[in-house]
Amino acid sequence: MKHKSFFWFVLPSALAMLLFIFFPIISVIVQSFHVDHEQVIQTVETCDLFGCKESTTIDQEATAALREAKPLGQFAGFATYLDRNHLAVDEVKSTWGSSNGWREFGSQMLNLPFYKAIGFTLTFTFIVTPLVIILGFVIAIAVNSATKALRGPLIFFSLLPMMITPLVGALILFWMVDARGIIGTTLQYLAGDPDLSVKASTPLMWIMLMVYGVWHAAPFAFIVYYAGLQTVSQDTLEAARVDGANRWLQIRHVVIPHLLPLTTFIALMQLMDNFRVFEPIVSFAANAHATSLSWSIYNDLGGETRQLSSAAATSVLTIIGVAILLSPVLVRTWRDFDRK
């Protein structure tokens, strides 16, 4: 394709991404290198409905000129990236020096917000992604073996976990797994422990978040695989059958290789989405037990005082994390591309 026609074809799409993703990313990066101006605090008397008391406030006049000159705030370099709420370089160093053994070092690292978040995020990503792929594949094979008339409703019900808004879906599931909800009671019965509560225990909460993650994303893998299955060459399958391959061997040697390219696509999207896990943590009120990078951003932006630079730094770290995570898959894609 000629350069010129390529340019005109991708222009609208490129423009949209440039304006609404690229420029914001640049501004976020710039923001992450700045912190607010030094605030001049003054002591004043504050009176409200319930009486007066000594209090403090920001002296706006004192900082007005500074703000006017440098609206971005003061340049801080990597200070925000390195502080305790992010990479916590100093704390890690001193922990490294003072702790005896890996176990203690590990537990102290998990007390730092960034490492606590990354710990859960990575566990979630590496457990949920393969399970989604496997489950999606199994369901696709099963639905594909069903009678044609049944497949429509089967597809619809299979898509439900992805279609119901997590806002309410998670709310109802959250209630169902409560110690007195239907799933929670069943679990207690199965475990033989009447005091079992998923929401009160950190390991169970992690498991629940991951089960939800798999449940919510399996339909995506399912529908992609299901469609892929439609193009498996019947001739090859027939040939395999004639050679005496049983059902499992057919799947192993014909179907799986055929679906491999699709797996790349699913893995790419799932790795990224799982690395950005956020909604289930909020919906399941799991933040006492598990946090993620995206949750930290949400927490920074949702407080009484918004911490823009902190959120910006975490966002940039998220992008870097995604890039590292996807690099093996991308290198593969690049080789494929280069070969052509």
């Binding site: 394709m1 000629k2 026609s5 390529f6 005109w8 074809f9 991708v10 609208p12 799409s13 490129a14 949209a16 304006l19 609404f20 993703i21 690229f22 990313i25 976020v28 199994v138 369901i139 099963a142 639905v143 594909n144 073996s145 009678t147 044609k148 429509g152 409703p153 597809i155 619809f156 019900f157 299979s158 439900l160 279609m163 119901i164 808004t165 806002l167 309410v168 879906g169 709310l171 109802i172 169902m176 007195r180 909800g181 449940w215 469609a227 892929g228 055929h258 390219p261 699709l262 696509f265 790419l268 990224m272 951003i297 932006l301 918004r306 998220t318 992008i319 890039a323 894609t333 690049w334």
Partner: protein, 293 residues
């Protein structure tokens, strides 16, 4: 493939039925439970005393006099005028899907046909763009949108959703177009068509299935979005998901959860029809697009 079912051994059939039965229960049970519960009062559906109340409707009997109540639906649709939000959602979805697909097919087609390396880098950049958490993007938009008086309009939200969705759309459509033989449009160009004419006359007629599949994912994104719509839309342009959120209450005030439950259940029906309607195309579409990934 149904004839194959007959041929397979009983053990395999049993396995298939078992997998499907378990999966259907996992996938559909929470929804069916919700559907049933949406006709109960909150005290039953979220019963702290006994989960079986959600089935029996003990408090529903006491409070409304019957085993079932349509209060949630009445409250959401009539009292809270949920239909306005539904209408807004419809507008947003229709525009997001059609614009996404227009931009995406043009871009995806070019990316699939270009043999230069920049096409790969373009795709790569799109993927990295997708890594940006939407909440950070939105908080970056706010000051600019307020300053330029763009905030609150449906159009702004549509454009933002289209842009955020572009990386996914491009990747998916790009793999679809790769699967349409290049000879098709090239022979058209040999016959004297321009690139765009070849795209319009030769490619467009065969691309519908793939486009519809991608469109479904765009639709779901616009339909279920909360991060963007909650922050960028004014009250009168509010879509369904922020509206549902407003039913849930805040720290200092109690909401009405049953309105939210009823709303969610009632907007699933059109989705059901949609999936049934597009079922063939979902399958047909990805069939062609997905083979080479």
């Amino acid at each position: 493939m149904s004839n194959k079912v007959k041929r397979q051994p009983a053990a395999v059939t049993f396995l298939v039925v078992a997998v499907l039965a378990i999966w259907m229960m996992l996938a559909a049970f929470p929804f069916l439970w919700t559907l049933w519960g949406s006709f109960k009062v909150e005290g039953d559906f979220f019963s702290k005393a006994d989960w079986a109340n959600a089935i029996k409707g003990t408090l529903t009997q006491v409070e409304t006099g019957g085993s079932f109540t349509g209060d949630g639906y009445h409250g959401a649709w009539v009292q809270e005028e949920f239909w306005r939000a539904a209408l807004n959602s419809l507008i947003v979805c229709v525009f997001v899907v059609s614009i996404s697909l227009t931009l995406g097919t043009l871009g995806g087609y070019a990316l699939a046909r270009s043999t230069y390396r920049y096409a790969f880098w373009f795709l790569l950049a799109a993927l990295i763009f997708r890594a940006m958490p939407p909440i950070t993007l939105v908080s970056g938009y706010l000051p600019v949108f307020f300053q330029w008086n763009l905030w609150g309009h449906t159009a702004t939200t549509i454009v933002v959703l289209v842009a955020i969705n572009q990386p996914f759309t491009l990747w998916m459509l790009h793999s679809f177009f790769k699967n349409i033989p290049a000879e098709l449009d090239e022979s058209a160009m040999v016959d004297g068509c321009t690139r765009f004419q070849a795209f319009r006359n030769v490619i467009i007629p065969v691309m519908w299935p793939g486009v519809i599949t991608t469109g479904l994912f765009s639709f779901l994104l616009a339909y279920n979005d909360f991060a963007v719509t909650a922050m960028l839309l004014s009250k009168e342009n509010q879509t369904m998901i922020p509206k549902i959120n407003s039913f849930l209450g805040t720290t200092q005030t109690k909401g009405n959860v049953m309105f939210a439950v009823a709303s969610v259940v009632s907007v699933t029906a059109p989705l059901f029809l949609m999936v049934l309607f597009f079922q063939r195309q979902i399958v047909g579409g990805l069939t062609a697009g997905a083979v080479k990934g």
